[in-house]
């Protein structure tokens, strides 16, 4: 059986590896779909909803990072409708917590912030919630600032799937969901954390950072973790 299949992306015929997702197929063909939770080497979960695409014959939008490419599929990855939905999804992420880019360690190096620029988000049309959220400073080397977390679960997955420590989980439901360390321990009190720093590097925002960095100074190194994740066989 041929290991390649053919699908259409925005009208163009594209070869795909059997078993790969729409997201991966597009990327391999040099077409970028925006996304904040998906990361090479980690199991896709479809948490951020920014990679939504239209598939001909399906009357709802599908997250491209979790949807396998199938022979003969016709996929739209860019359209006015998708742009509008992606903008909405991103604005909702910004409205949920306290994003104050001007004083954030990740200012200028943040995936959420740069995606806002790319999508043309100039303001948030939903009321900001201004939740009162904590900052965990208990780890000797790293900081967790819930104010900047978008619940993408990259940290959860990299720690469990690549480092094998499984320090992080998401607790709560819906708007009350929170990143939690080992059944509600402080990060500093964690029994499993090896201080490898992988979660910090893959976090797309300023929610996880190294200590000792000031505003704009936290630059993440995702590619090395991606490489390691692929080698250690997270998913593929």
């Amino acid at each position: 059986m041929d290991s390649k299949i053919t699908i259409r992306i925005d009208g163009e015929l594209v070869k795909a590896d059997r078993g790969s997702t729409i997201f991966e197929t597009a990327k391999a063909a040099g077409k970028r779909i925006p996304g904040l939770c998906n990361m090479k080497g980690l199991k896709p979960v479809g948490a951020c909803r920014l990679c939504m695409v239209e598939v001909a014959g399906v009357n709802r939008l599908l997250p491209s990072c979790t949807t396998p490419a199938q022979e003969g599929m016709s996929v739209t990855i860019h359209s006015a409708r998708l742009d509008a939905y992606r903008k909405q999804a991103l604005e909702l992420l910004l409205s949920e917590r306290n994003h104050v880019c001007a004083v954030c360690v990740s200012n200028g190096h943040c995936e959420l912030q740069s995606l806002a620029t790319a999508l043309g988000v100039t303001n948030v049309r939903y009321g900001y919630r201004y939740p009162k959220l904590g900052v965990d400073l208990s780890h000797p080397r790293y900081v967790l600032d819930h104010n900047r977390c978008i619940l993408c679960t990259r940290c959860v997955r990299v720690c469990a799937e690549v480092e094998g420590a499984h320090v992080w989980d998401i607790a709560g439901r819906g708007i009350h969901s929170m990143l939690t360390c080992e059944m509600n321990r402080t990060w500093g009190g964690s029994r499993n954390c090896t201080s490898c720093g992988k979660c910090v590097q893959v976090c797309p925002t300023g929610a996880l950072a190294e200590k000792g960095f000031a505003v704009e100074e936290m630059v993440k190194r995702t590619t090395s973790v991606e490489r390691l994740a692929v080698v250690r066989g997270g998913s593929r």
Binding site: G120, N123, V124, Y130
Partner: protein
């Protein structure tokens, strides 16, 4: 353009640090063109006691944090054709919003009583009351264009103003960033 009436431009400074006004002054050569085509009718840069009628464009810096900010924002909206929120404080509430998780009374006590060595008293005379939250301008009045950035890039301000002067709709995708 000569012979045509000048475009009436106003600026206003709500709860912000004046950095956005600094960015406005940083638009370099555009300032020269602006002088020819624009009349500055209100704001910290000119001496006008009252917000005038029939303003064409207003650039508003700062979050809406007090009853005073709220009133001025409403006045500006009522008398202005195109209202622009200038900079992150006006667009997102930004740094001023960092007080929003603390109730106003607690905040004032912390700053003016616990935090003061002498004259421990919460100021009441002549200062407008704080709102429960410092909010974006668009939470209080309809805003037509948003120029985010802390401070907003002079290039983005220049793009918006020249587009408007030329009767075009500004397109800010890729040109602006929060922070």
């Amino acid at each position: 353009m000569s012979g045509q009436a000048k475009v009436k431009l106003a600026t206003a400074w709500l709860d912000g640090c004046s950095g956005c006004h600094m960015s406005l002054l940083d638009v370099d050569e555009l300032l020269v063109a602006l002088v020819e085509r624009v009349e500055l009718v209100y704001g910290p840069l000119v001496d006008a006691p009252e917000y005038p009628d029939a303003v064409d464009v207003a650039l508003v810096e700062g979050a809406v944090s007090s009853v005073g900010d709220q009133k001025l924002a409403q006045t500006i909206r009522a008398k202005t054709r195109i209202l622009i929120s200038l900079g992150d404080c006006a667009v997102t509430s930004n740094v001023p919003s960092m007080r929003n998780t603390i109730p106003v009374q607690k905040l004032l006590e912390r700053v003016y009583i616990e935090g003061a060595d002498a004259a421990q008293a919460i100021p009441a005379d002549g200062v407008p009351a704080l709102l429960r939250h410092a909010v974006p301008l668009a939470d209080v009045v309809k805003v037509d264009i948003h120029i985010p950035g802390c401070p907003p890039k002079p290039g983005a301000i220049a793009h918006v103003l020249t587009s408007l002067l030329d009767g075009k709709k500004p397109e800010l995708t890729g040109l602006v960033k929060f922070g």
